[in-house]
């Protein structure tokens, strides 16, 4: 096979998954320009390894390389995003950030459901964010997610459960205070 045929092959395998790749990169880097850079770097890497690719799912294969590229990028550019996942500390402690005082900016940002949910997802640790994206948006199986993220199935299950619990807790917390404030308003003073 000539190099050019190999390149054509590679593009046919990989280009259909650009949305999935970009979406994951965008959620992990939280920035358009960085997402594009990471996708491009990941694809160049993927092309270098393409000769060794014999698997069935180009999508899972590409996403594996992409998430590794993302995490290397985060380690270099956003080390704070990669604070080790603490399996002991309660999740609600880490959620303190979401439960801060309601400022006008926060009210504005949270003006609609989408903005509110997006912000909650963006506030998750990167390892939680990626399982949410891979499961809820790409609808991959736990086995595929386990292969992409290189952690056991049990870890996928628990990360996903904790990530969802955080999102739901944050979601309900953002809705409840308003109702609570209203109640206090009508009964207090």
């Amino acid at each position: 096979m000539t190099e050019r045929q190999r390149l054509g092959d590679f593009e046919r395998a990989v280009l259909p998954h650009m949305n999935a790749a970009y979406n994951l990169a965008r959620w992990l880097t939280r920035n358009d320009a960085d997402a594009e850079d990471v996708v491009q770097e990941a694809c160049l890497r993927a092309f270098r390894y393409y000769a060794g690719f014999t698997g069935e799912s180009p999508k899972a294969w590409l996403l594996t390389i992409l998430r590794n590229t993302c995490f290397s990028w985060l380690a270099k550019n956003r080390p704070a995003d990669l604070a080790p996942l603490d399996d002991v500390v309660s999740d609600s402690v880490a959620l303190a950030d979401e439960g801060g005082p309601q400022t006008p900016e926060r009210e504005f940002l949270a003006a609609d459901d989408r903005g509110r949910l997006d912000r909650l997802i963006a506030s998750l640790p990167a390892e939680f964010r990626e399982v949410i994206v891979l499961r809820e948006q790409e609808e991959l199986s736990y086995r595929e997610i386990s292969e992409i993220t290189a952690v056991p199935m049990g870890t996928v299950m628990s990360r996903l459960a904790r990530a969802r619990a955080r999102l739901r807790e944050g979601w309900e917390r953002q809705h409840a205070p308003k109702a609570g404030a209203g109640m206090r308003g009508s009964h207090g003073s």
Binding site: F10, E11, L15, W27, V39, Q40, Q137, L160, A161
Partner: protein, 258 residues
């Protein structure tokens, strides 16, 4: 299973991803526990909202195109350091194609890497044979397919820094089929394709003022007839499995056609 375990397993159960034993326990518990059924329903509703509401970021328009470009540039980059050679005036696509050919040449094994030594006429002969065979095998005879010399010539002008003469000799029994870029003796070269009867003929032309391609020659190798000559600054190589005298006739036409 008690209530406390339900929340952490609810998602996996809804996803149909709970291992069989846990799933059976979960379903037995839910059958007898209205509270937990309610919790599961709330979880299901929240996950549906999450799925339908969170922003999906599709790839920006043009990303695929930029990526293709980067891939081709990368391909070139992989090769150029070996050559330490820059050829201004060659289009980017030409360089990438040339790079793909040098890789193919390097990988084809028959030749091996030539290093930066000028290839002798004999080595070039071997490259000509390999290139001819490859053009037949890979179903890649032409990049531009046209019997019209006025189409083929401008195409080369856009891809090479020398303009090879392009003539159609259909009237003389050698119709022009088209042209493509190839890579011989460390440089992108024009390859023109003629036919005689059913036999494809490759004509390679490149500028070679230093005459590194050696003396004019008529040879036969691996069953192919090969003719090489120099005219002005251009070096010509003809190769085909047609009879030797037919190839000589085409050479005469080409020499005269200037």
């Amino acid at each position: 299973m008690d209530h406390k375990q339900v929340p952490s397993l609810a998602g996996a159960w809804l996803d149909g991803e709970l291992p069989a034993d846990s799933r059976i326990e979960m379903e037995a518990h839910l059958a007898g526990c209205a509270d937990c059924r309610e919790r599961i329903d709330a979880e299901r509703a929240f996950l549906a909202r999450l799925k339908s509401t969170a922003t999906y970021h599709p790839a920006p328009g043009g990303l695929a195109a930029r990526l293709s470009q980067a891939l081709r540039a990368e391909e070139t980059k992989n090769v150029v350091p070996l050559k330490h050679r820059s050829r201004p005036g060659i289009s980017w696509r030409g360089t990438a194609l040339a790079a793909s050919f040098v890789l193919a040449v390097l990988l084809s094994g028959g030749i091996g890497y030539m290093g930066s030594l000028p290839a002798s006429g004999d080595l070039i002969t071997q490259q000509i044979v390999d290139s001819h065979v490859r053009s037949l095998l890979a179903n890649h005879l032409t990049d531009v397919t046209s019997t019209d010399q006025h189409t083929v010539k401008p195409w080369f002008n856009g891809h090479l820094d020398t303009a090879p003469p392009v003539k159609n000799f259909a009237g003389e029994g050698f119709p022009l089929i088209g042209g493509r870029l190839d890579y011989i003796d460390h440089r992108p070269v024009a390859a023109m394709v003629y036919r005689h009867g059913l036999h494809p003929i490759n004509l390679f032309v490149w500028a070679d003022p230093a005459k590194t391609a050696g003396q004019p020659s008529v040879t036969e190798r691996q069953g192919y007839n090969i003719r090489h000559w120099v005219q002005g600054d251009l070096t010509y190589w003809l190769i085909s499995d047609v009879e030797a005298d037919q190839l000589a006739a085409l050479e005469a036409l080409l020499r005269k056609g200037e």
